[in-house]
Point group: C2
């Protein structure tokens, strides 16, 4: 069978060795005679998996001591409202940077709990750029933004400066580069890109920000409850956490986030270079705003778009169709996509272009 | 290696063939060259898994046409408050049957959103029996109860009659016997017993009950939003749903819930017979109230308890320690535990008793 190159935006590619280890754990975890799928979440085996996952997050991102690591459920979609009800008092104000569909969803959900003031937005040009100036009111309980815009292919290259606490949705670029966690009150990320399979959500939180909204929250929606229970208030999603832990072990073996960032830059440069030089394709995002994770591009005509989509699929490039709200193409080149895979896509684009020229001359 | 018999209360045993198929899907799903862990939730492969899971639920439980099947996250703990905010208007009343720790938690979370009136309770004797009479106010928005009490080993043998809509937590006995879904407005169940691994929650819901609370809910907490989106409003926990589907296929091959109920009765009878006849053990729950899923029992002294716990573990009986809020023993004998496993536990109890008599005479 030919190798399939998986460019899906999420759930997305993970390393082959993680798949092999995960499959082994499904059959017989640590030679225990039991499956990871059947053991109690309070068993020694699972508790040690959870502890290792937490400590790998702390080590890989150099998380300051006072921060807590939680593995929750519901993806970023659950964090959109959960962050608001935890940090926004009745009648309070928060400010949001709007750079895409996911930011807009976060704003919509938070608006149910208080006044949301836009800090900046790039909606006027269909989210094809990143705003440079942000107006952050002093009375805002927090600033929320999305570090990487999976759908539109833009990414903030540095942390946004703010006097108010910063909450950041890093679902699609966490673990792809070093970050300074101390600059954020809370970071959250659905696992299904650079962390693990769908089914768990990483939250890195400074407990100091908790307990100020004055709301009577359901226990499951209260970060403090999860912190007090070491992320074991309810039965956690054991297998998604297990695979996340295996993947973090893999990342550590690769040299951690600094080493993977170098590879990610190399991969992204290779692909953007082809897009910029191949006359059939284009990407009009400013270079310094381009995402290193989700490379969005367009064909120069709908006919070419249609033809290349078919050609790419025939050539084992899976998942490169753009998101339905934007169209075009999107190649997600997360940590687990190696340079060989990106080279294969580049070669496929080049071959398509040669064939096209032959047919049309 | 000796076979380990897994009597854990949840996450818990699943059939060996489900583990084998799940491991295969982690390596190469349907010969696609991709892992179930890396494919998009909107891919054809996953959509067909989700549809098959839903239709197996409908078929196995003979779910009436108008009901919807959802696979959410957060376990029963999330349903405790989510059911309340969806069905309890501001200032409204609901009534709850309190038969254990999980019922009590459901009451605690719902109390944050309205007036909770007890329909009945067995808390006076540490939940060691089931109340027979239930006082259900006519103005209650709904009645909530727990069909099987995992911790205390009691189980309602028939559905509770009620004039108001019934919401039932069936986390630990769903798919263990036939049920008449039409008697419930909503049924929910954390997957990690008879359905699948931890990480997804089954909701069977009559849409007619939705949209009446008048609350402005976050999208993720609104059953109607999940119904309108076919349980795909956000990225669902793809792997836990996949394994649930495989397990439901297995259940269908076993002859469905009527056939499995016969096996479950046989297994439970075998174990209760040993408990009742072995002088070192006891179970004081009335026979008709005993759980067919979680067989709770005690040793006649703390010394014997301690000694048997050790002996059972040495004899490959895993997970029989009782829940920390009750103590003693608990052998969970879900669908995937075969009669050979129960016979092994019975033999272990009998052998322990013989050894004990030898030592003490």
């Amino acid at each position: 069978m030919n190798k399939v190159y998986n460019f899906s935006a999420g759930p997305s590619i993970l390393p082959q060795e993680v798949f092999r280890e995960a499959a082994e754990g499904v059959l017989n975890l640590n030679q225990s005679g039991l499956s990871i799928l059947e053991i109690s979440h309070r068993s020694k085996d699972f508790m040690s998996i959870l502890e290792e996952a937490k400590s790998l997050v702390k080590e890989l991102l150099q998380v300051p001591e006072q921060y807590e690591i939680l593995f929750l459920t519901g993806g970023a979609s659950a964090q959109f409202y959960m962050s608001a009800i935890n940090f926004l008092p009745e009648g309070g104000t928060a400010t949001y940077i709007d750079t895409g569909v996911w930011s807009a969803k976060a704003i919509k959900e938070a608006s149910k709990f208080g006044k949301i003031v836009p800090a900046s937005s790039s909606k006027d040009r269909n989210y094809s750029y990143l705003p440079k100036e942000h107006h952050i009111p002093n009375d805002a309980s927090y600033l929320h933004y999305t570090s990487n815009n999976t759908i539109y292919g833009t990414q903030f290259s540095t942390a946004i400066r703010s006097e108010v606490p910063v909450i950041c949705d890093m679902s699609s670029d966490i673990f792809s580069r070093p970050i300074d966690v101390a600059k954020y009150a809370m970071i959250y990320a659905g696992a299904q890109k650079n962390l693990g399979p769908a089914g768990t959500t990483l939250v890195i939180i400074d407990p100091k920000i908790c307990g100020k909204s004055g709301r009577n929250l359901p226990s499951m929606l209260d970060y403090q409850v999860h912190i007090e229970n070491g992320s074991m208030f309810n039965t956690p999603p054991t297998f998604p956490i297990y695979v996340s832990m295996l993947n973090l072990r893999w990342l550590k073996k690769q040299g951690g986030v600094r080493a993977i960032q170098q590879k990610n830059i190399e991969k992204a440069n290779l692909l953007y270079q082809e897009i910029d030089s191949n006359p059939l394709f284009k990407n009009e995002i400013a270079r310094e705003e381009r995402s290193m994770m989700n490379v969005v591009f367009d064909a120069i005509s709908p006919e070419i778009e249609h033809a290349f989509l078919k050609f790419a699929e025939e050539n084992y490039c899976s998942g490169i169709k753009g998101h339905r709200s934007r169209g075009g193409f999107r190649a997600s080149i997360y940590n687990a996509m190696d340079i060989e895979g990106v080279q294969h896509l580049v070669d496929t684009m080049a071959l398509f272009s040669i064939n096209f020229n032959k047919t049309n001359h």
